[in-house]
């Protein structure tokens, strides 16, 4: 099965444009290549797994030591909650990239949709992290609370937060699983008989054989689940913001803040996808799938999200600035200008100024390294920002009342905090590397579908790629 896209490459005419064209493979070539890489377990993979597992184990030990110390002092749990916030902001938001690009039928999304959905599985880790984080919360009575003191049953404290997180985790697993069904069927068909992974793939593929009905339902079902995921993600970010940030600070009333957190999620989720593409391209052998097309195209929404970062922050900040109540002055000191000014301005630099300064230049957007460097900076900025918005509120001495009477001093992380932050982020990456051996990290069927819609044609004095719209 040869794609007609090859014709141009063999035509022998030295016209402009052919050098920019990504290689056009056949469906069979993609299938063999991806399944081959999916099956292989190299020493490098094992070494990375080992390091990640070790770091995660250290993080778990630090967590246990912290838990033994009790949950009464909220300031002890600030960095734990900040890590949870970062994982939700960066990793759990990644499937929105895939869902959003499916809505817009972006052709270039095909190779990267799966890895974005795999990152969403981090929601399972966050679901577990929410339990101790909830235990660290002070009594909601007399404190601003999104549940309006609505009671949870004694047998299931904090039921409402847990249901929201569970719904998000269920949705992300479903989104990944449904879209992976055809590739699990591929693994079932092509992995050697008797292998455990073949049996697992066979079980998970649920007997998919690629009927017309299946494809029609999968297409629409995927869009529905994507829409539900986006709606649920916004709800979860709102709840996290309200529970561990807004609700911990007397007088902090800011309807923009949850939206700001969601927007940061979009930015950091996009950045995680970019960095993962770079890693898979450079060390995973997937350079045929993650080319200039993907990096150049995703750099544009990343720039847009960086601009929105500033808009969202400013819309929130200006309210307190003009309000000028004593409590709001303290709030500004706490969040932006006082002891937490360095994290804030670092975040401003890494999440807004640096992406803007870099991405206004097309040669930087149209490169592999440029978007990767910016994405790495965005992720670092997101982590610092989550520390600011969660650790500062958690470190307050008094979470009750109507006025913020004190400005908390900067809380440096101790050795346990560092182990928790590094360990749980390693845990999320470990989860990705494990799931990437359960389902192929590149969506074979989506890439295969795209191959049929692309042809290389001569257009006057150059070659152009023609992409069909099938809907």
């Amino acid at each position: 099965m040869h794609s007609k896209g090859h014709e141009a490459a063999h035509a022998g005419e030295h016209l402009h444009g052919l050098e920019d064209m990504p290689p056009i493979m056949t469906h069979e070539e993609v299938s063999r290549d991806v399944i081959g890489r999916f099956t292989a377990v190299s020493w490098r993979y094992m070494a990375v797994m080992g390091v990640l597992a070790l770091l995660f184990a250290i993080g778990l030990v630090a967590f246990v030591i912290r838990a033994v110390g009790g949950f009464d002092d909220t300031s002890d749990w600030g960095y734990f909650v900040a890590t949870m916030g970062f994982l939700t902001t960066a990793f759990v938001s990644a499937p929105i990239v895939s869902a959003g690009l499916r809505f817009t039928k972006a052709h270039w999304r095909r190779p990267l949709a799966r890895l974005a959905e795999i990152h969403g599985v981090t929601a399972l880790l966050v679901l577990l992290m929410v339990i101790p984080a909830l235990a660290a919360l002070p009594d909601p009575v007399g404190r601003a609370d999104i549940w309006f003191d609505f009671p949870s049953p004694d047998w299931f404290p904090h039921m409402w937060t847990m249901i929201a997180m569970a719904a998000l985790a269920l949705c992300t697993v479903a989104l990944l699983w449904m879209h992976a069904l055809p590739d699990l069927a591929n693994a079932r068909d092509h992995l050697p008989q008797g292998k455990v992974r073949r049996n697992v793939a066979s079980f998970l593929s649920m007997g998919v054989i690629g009927t017309v009905r299946f494809w029609r339902v999968l297409y629409r079902g995927g869009l529905l689940l994507g829409a539900l995921y986006i709606m649920m993600y916004m709800a979860v970010q709102t709840i996290l913001s309200a529970e561990w940030s807004l609700g911990m600070v007397p007088s902090w009333k800011d309807s923009m803040f949850p939206a700001y957190q969601v927007m940061k999620g979009l930015q950091a989720g996009t950045a995680v996808v970019v960095v993962t593409m770079f890693v898979l391209r450079t060390w995973g052998g997937y350079e045929k799938y993650f080319g200039i097309d993907q990096f150049w195209s995703i750099a544009k929404p990343l720039l847009a999200f960086s601009l929105l970062w500033f808009y969202m922050w400013f819309a929130s900040f200006i309210t307190f600035w003009y309000g000028r109540q004593p409590s709001e002055i303290n709030l500004i000191q706490m969040l932006f200008l006082g002891p937490w000014a360095v994290p804030f301005f670092s975040s401003m630099l890494l999440n807004f100024l640096f992406p803007l300064g870099m991405f206004i230049w097309n040669p930087i957007r149209k490169s592999i390294v440029g978007p990767t460097v910016v994405a790495a900076a965005v992720l670092l900025g997101a982590l610092i920002d989550q520390v600011r918005v969660y650790v500062a509120p958690m470190s307050l001495n008094n979470h009750f009342g109507h006025v913020l009477a004190e400005v908390p001093v900067f809380q440096w992380p101790n050795i346990l905090d560092i182990a928790i932050v590094v360990g749980f982020i390693s845990g999320a990456i470990l989860l990705f590397t494990l799931v990437a051996k359960l389902v192929p990290v590149v969506s074979i069927w989506e890439v295969g579908e795209g191959l049929r819609l692309v042809k290389v044609r001569k257009f006057h004095n150059r070659w152009v790629r023609v992409i069909a719209k099938s809907h």
């Binding site: 099965m1 056949t26 469906h27 069979e28 299938s31 063999r32 999104i146 549940w147 309006f148 003191d149 609505f150 009671p151 409402w160 249901i163 929201a164 569970a166 719904a167 269920l170 949705c171 479903a174 449904m178 069904l181 055809p182 069927a185 591929n186 068909d189 092509h190 649920m206 007997g207 998919v208 054989i209 690629g210 009927t211 017309v212 009905r213 299946f214 494809w215 029609r216 339902v217 999968l218 297409y219 629409r220 079902g221 529905l224 689940l225 539900l228 709606m231 649920m232 709800a235 074979i444 069927w445 989506e446 295969g448 579908e449 049929r452 099938s470 809907h471």
Partner: protein, 169 residues
């Protein structure tokens, strides 16, 4: 007499489309023909019968069930424990809204997953007549027909360039 299912395997979409045309021309209704592929083709590529599904009903039904459950829980709790908070009515809408949103979404998500499985007709215990090359990009045309028409179906599939034919009784 019982129906049998015959699979013709094609490496090329052009030949698969030709096979579909030939089968329909030879009196096999489109409803009795199915196409197995490793990735989706645009609707109507092979002149295939478009199956009807009711997937959209599932999230809607799930959302209605979830919302109803949320109303039951929130109204029931507030009536059972009538605590006046902040001078607000016992049944105040804002706290119920957030919980209703959660339950509605949860119901919709669960129902959508069930809907995808049900409308796709999976899980399937056996693959039936199938070929592993389909996930490599080959196209399978499956004919369901009475056994006495099996030979005619097979001839149509072969005449269109099938590289392999498989039969399931």
């Amino acid at each position: 007499m019982a129906n049998q299912r015959i699979l013709g395997l094609y490496p090329d979409p052009d030949k698969a489309a030709e096979a579909m045309n030939r089968l329909k021309h030879n009196g096999f209704p489109a409803e009795d023909l199915d196409i197995y592929t490793g990735s989706p083709f645009p609707e109507g590529t092979f002149g295939e019968h478009e199956p009807q599904h009711r997937l959209y009903v599932f999230p809607f039904a799930g959302a209605v069930i979830g919302f109803s459950l949320a109303m039951l829980v929130t109204i029931g709790t507030q009536i059972s424990y009538p605590l006046i908070t902040g001078g607000k009515p016992i049944l105040s809408i804002p706290p119920m809204t957030i919980i209703a949103y959660e339950f509605t979404m949860l119901g919709a998500i669960i129902a959508t997953v069930v809907g995808i499985l049900f409308e796709s007709r999976i899980p399937r215990r056996t693959l039936g007549v199938y070929d592993e090359r389909i996930t490599d990009g080959f196209i399978g045309i499956v004919v369901s027909c009475p056994a006495e028409r099996g030979r005619a179906a097979e001839q149509s599939l072969r005449a269109s360039g099938a590289v392999d034919i498989k039969t399931e009784a």
